[in-house]
């Protein structure tokens, strides 16, 4: 092995070590960060949205597609699904219900809420529509006096967020 080879080998080693350290540092900084503070994730979301726009432009679907009435009928005004998921965890819905996507929500007291969007009735008494769902979440006992589901003191805003999350749960 010539000196030149050895030196380039050394250079390669140093380069590899340096890039390894840099990658590890980046990963480490992300791993140690608090959940809200997420520069890497935010950058990824921005990039994702940007690329999505480009792809939509590429696909260029015709303007006047028929309206998806089912979609519209399950939309909760003023509801943020992500916020809803957090609230579902906070109110403790998971101790009675299975709620996909919410950590530790695997209760077996009440009905499994997987595929909730496609359910016909809420609590066996109300039809499954945004308004009724929000109402039910706030005051289940007024609609079904014998239910085991307690009134949790949910505010209307919170109920809207939670309802909008529940409508993201589609059946298989």
């Amino acid at each position: 092995m010539s000196d030149r080879d050895r030196n380039s080998g050394l250079l390669g080693t140093v380069f590899a070590i340096l890039s390894g350290v840099i990658v590890s540092l980046a990963v480490g900084v992300w791993a140690l960060g608090t959940p809200g503070n997420d520069p890497v994730g935010a950058a990824a979301v921005t990039a994702g949205t940007f690329m999505e726009g480009k792809f939509r432009w590429l696909r260029a679907e015709p303007e006047n597609v028929p309206q998806d009435w089912v979609e519209i009928s399950k939309t909760v005004r003023g509801g943020d699904p992500q916020r809803g998921a957090t609230l579902i965890a906070q109110y403790g819905c998971g101790s009675c219900h299975v709620v996909p996507g919410v950590a530790r929500a695997h209760g077996t007291v009440g009905p499994d809420l997987s595929g909730f969007r496609d359910r016909a009735y809420i609590g066996g008494v109300l039809s499954n529509e945004p308004g009724d769902l929000v109402d039910w979440l706030m005051n289940p006992t007024t609609h079904a006096p014998d239910t085991a589901m307690p009134d949790l003191g949910v505010t209307e805003t919170d109920a809207r967020h939670m309802a909008s999350y529940l409508y993201t749960l589609r059946g298989s």
Partner: protein
């Protein structure tokens, strides 16, 4: 103040909420840094050795393998012995005594104050800046008491009483968890430590001596009735209502705790109802049976009453 659940850093050792933790942090940090430096050094020597052909020297082995470790280790031994003394040297004979008994999978807490034994569970209230002696016991298997932000851990062993002196130096809530594998629901055996200024701590002790809050609304009264007639009192005590149950956590101020099920769920009516109706699902292996034979309104009533016990 909310629960420590999803509160970032509520269970970290990189904290100064107690003398034990604070005096260990610098040891952690300095030892970590020195370790990384030594690692880098050894790797550099190895790299140098790789490229050299001049042959090894005996003094490498003696220097790197014997002399250097002996010096570093002596320093470390002195440093950790000093730290150990400074942590454990806080024991004072007049320090308040809190007796904590671990059960599968919850914590019984008895504050010994002025000759009284004041019982609480799953939430340990500590006075600020005051050394406290914890008497750690176990009722069944080995558990371990650990509040990383306040102090190091100590095992709770059947047949023994291990004493741990801790001094909390920061107001607030800190999460603790059982650190010795104790069976099926070991991951679900946590607790919260609430550090209060001394006056508030005294008030808290007084509140433990009082009867539980009265049932006010009809629903709460119904809940209390259900509690008394459904067999709950065999295991649970509520001051002024039924004080003989000792097998389960004391519920006199259950509604005042921030969390339910030994530090695992947020304290609210929904979780209380879910817990009562199906504890077997929420905490597998727990001794409490699931009360799924209560009617819906009765279940809600018990949950409402328990929530009102503050």
């Amino acid at each position: 103040m909310g629960s420590t659940l999803d509160q970032f850093g509520s269970q970290t050792t990189f904290a100064d909420a107690g003398i034990g933790a604070a005096r260990t942090v610098w040891l952690t940090n300095s030892m970590s840094i020195i370790s990384l430096v030594i690692l880098a050094f050894v790797m550099l020597v190895a790299l140098f050795a790789w490229r050299s052909t001049g042959g090894g020297r005996v003094w490498w082995i003696i220097g790197g393998g014997i002399v250097f470790p002996l010096i570093t280790l002596s320093v470390l031994t002195v440093a950790s012995a000093t730290t150990l003394r400074s942590i454990t040297g806080e024991a004072q004979p007049e320090a308040p005594v809190i007796e904590i008994t671990a059960y599968q999978y919850w914590w019984d807490v008895v504050h010994h104050s002025e000759g009284r034994s004041l019982r609480d569970a799953n939430e340990i209230v500590l006075p600020l800046n005051m050394a406290v002696t914890l008497q750690l016991k176990s009722n069944d298997v080995i558990h371990s008491f650990w509040v990383p932000s306040v102090s190091g851990k100590m095992d709770m062993i059947p047949g023994r009483i291990n004493e741990l002196t801790i001094t909390a130096t920061k107001e607030g809530r800190f999460r603790g968890q059982c650190a010795e594998f104790c069976g099926l629901s070991h991951p679900l055996m946590a607790f919260e430590v609430l550090v209060l200024p001394v006056e508030e701590y005294a008030a808290y002790l007084e509140s433990l001596d009082e009867d539980a809050r009265d049932a006010v609304t009809p629903q709460q009264r119904r809940g209390k009735e259900v509690f008394l007639t459904s067999g709950c009192t065999a295991c649970h005590a509520v001051n002024g209502v039924s004080e003989n149950g000792r097998l389960g956590p004391d519920l006199s101020r259950v509604g005042a705790r921030a969390s339910l099920g030994a530090g695992m769920w947020r304290m609210n009516r929904g979780n209380l109802a879910g817990w009562i109706a199906d504890v077997g699902d929420m905490k597998p292996g727990a001794q409490m049976p699931s009360y799924n034979d209560l009617s819906g309104p009765d279940l809600r009533a018990v949950a409402a009453w328990l929530e009102s016990l503050k």
